[in-house]
């Protein structure tokens, strides 16, 4: 029974790639638009998707939360967005950075790039760069669109305009392939953003998720909720033998035994898979996935 016990957390971690693929597909459900060179204009775009996904992607199902936040604070009508802030709080307190690990299309893109064979480098010595994403959040997502406005009180989405590589990857590239008018309008800004995208692609092959670790303002927001989110990671101290396999397996440079719900943890489950004693598992609202599974196992045994 011990062998069959638990494993829901481990299974979830093992099928993470498939969950990421499904989440990317659901976030970009209008695939046929990719060939038409036009974007989807339905009402589902009133709602935001959980991950970083440009709403100028022809296939996008909903709005990008970071783009939507800048659109509201940069509009002439509002100077703060309760709608999007509430969305961040709701998703953050429910899942934390599980969204980065399982639901974000750009996170999956970086994961796939990192699978390209070749020399890989650790980011353990680059930990101070983690704080850059908070600076980007405050300056480019909140302050600049709010403060730097034109004559009618509207501000640019500075993060989308000068930093975000998703707009080029998901928006500009497919749109310019299918639409000659857009292709002819691309200029210096596009070239600059292409350079950012190429840099992120190269860095993602060498390092694990550089954009998530150092740049992403959405990851910065969700990280603030990691310690209080309903979904979290639990280390069973009675089972832990202190072998440190979990921390060695963690590509986000988290000391899992000490701080299993560190702001950098994207709940990818690498530690769960690495633990030889099955001492680490996901927990939702205080209910351990292990317990749920062992209970169902017990029920099955009872029936038999």
């Amino acid at each position: 029974m011990d062998k069959g016990k638990k494993l829901l957390s481990k299974k979830t971690a093992k099928i993470r790639g498939w969950i990421q693929a499904a989440a990317t597909l659901l976030t970009n459900i209008h695939i046929t638009n990719l060939f038409k060179g036009k974007i989807y204009q339905g009402k589902t775009k009133t709602a935001c998707v959980p991950g970083l996904n440009c709403y100028s992607c022809p296939a996008a199902t909903g709005a990008c939360p970071i783009g939507a936040f800048q659109a509201v604070v940069g509009s002439s009508k509002f100077k703060f967005s309760y709608y999007i802030t509430g969305f961040f709080i709701l998703l953050g307190v429910t899942l934390g950075r599980f969204i980065c690990g399982f639901l974000c299309p750009f996170g999956w893109f970086q994961d796939l790039l990192h699978k390209i064979p070749g020399k890989k480098f650790s980011t353990a010595k680059l930990k101070p760069l983690r704080y850059l994403k908070y600076l980007i959040l405050i300056v480019f997502v909140i302050l600049l669109p709010m403060v730097v406005t034109n004559s009618i009180g509207m501000g640019d989405p500075f993060f989308c305009k000068y930093i975000c590589p998703q707009g080029v990857l998901e928006g500009a590239i497919p749109l310019s392939l299918g639409n000659t008018a857009i292709r002819s309008a691309l200029g210096k800004l596009f070239s600059f953003k292409c350079l950012i995208l190429i840099t992120v692609v190269v860095l993602s092959i060498l390092f694990y998720r550089p954009f998530c670790k150092w740049i992403c303002p959405l990851g910065a927001i969700y990280s603030l909720f990691n310690k209080v989110s309903f979904l979290n990671i639990k280390v069973d101290n009675s089972k832990c033998v202190g072998c440190n396999q979990c921390s060695k397996a963690c590509k986000m440079d988290v000391d899992v035994c000490k701080t299993p719900n560190h702001p950098e943890c994207i709940r990818c489950g690498a530690c769960i898979k690495a633990c030889p004693k099955n001492a680490i598992h996901y927990q939702f609202m205080g209910n351990s996935c292990e317990k749920i599974n062992s209970n169902s196992q017990r029920q099955t045994t009872d029936i038999n």
Binding site: I39, Y40, Q41, G42, K43, K45, T46, C48, C54, Y55, S56, A60, G62, A63, G67, A68, A71, V72, S75, K77, F78, S81, Y82, Y83, I84, T85, G86, F87, F88, I89, L90, L91, G92, V93, T94, D156, P157, C160, K161, Q166, G167, V168, G171, A172, L175, I182, A185, L186, G187, L189, F190, S191, F192, K193, C194, F225, V228, S229, F230, G286
Partner: protein, 46 residues
């Protein structure tokens, strides 16, 4: 543990309230109008 549960509930209620308030005051339509048009800045047109 109790403090953690209280903060979870407070945040959950705050999140739902803010989404509702934002939608009522018309932020959702601003999001929709931005999301259904081509975002020039995002794609690099300017």
């Amino acid at each position: 543990m109790k403090c953690r549960k209280i903060s979870q509930i407070v945040l959950l209620i705050a999140g739902i309230t803010m989404i509702s308030y934002g939608a009522i005051r018309g932020e959702a339509s601003v999001v929709l109008s931005k999301a259904i048009k081509l975002c020039m800045e995002c794609v690099g047109i300017g």
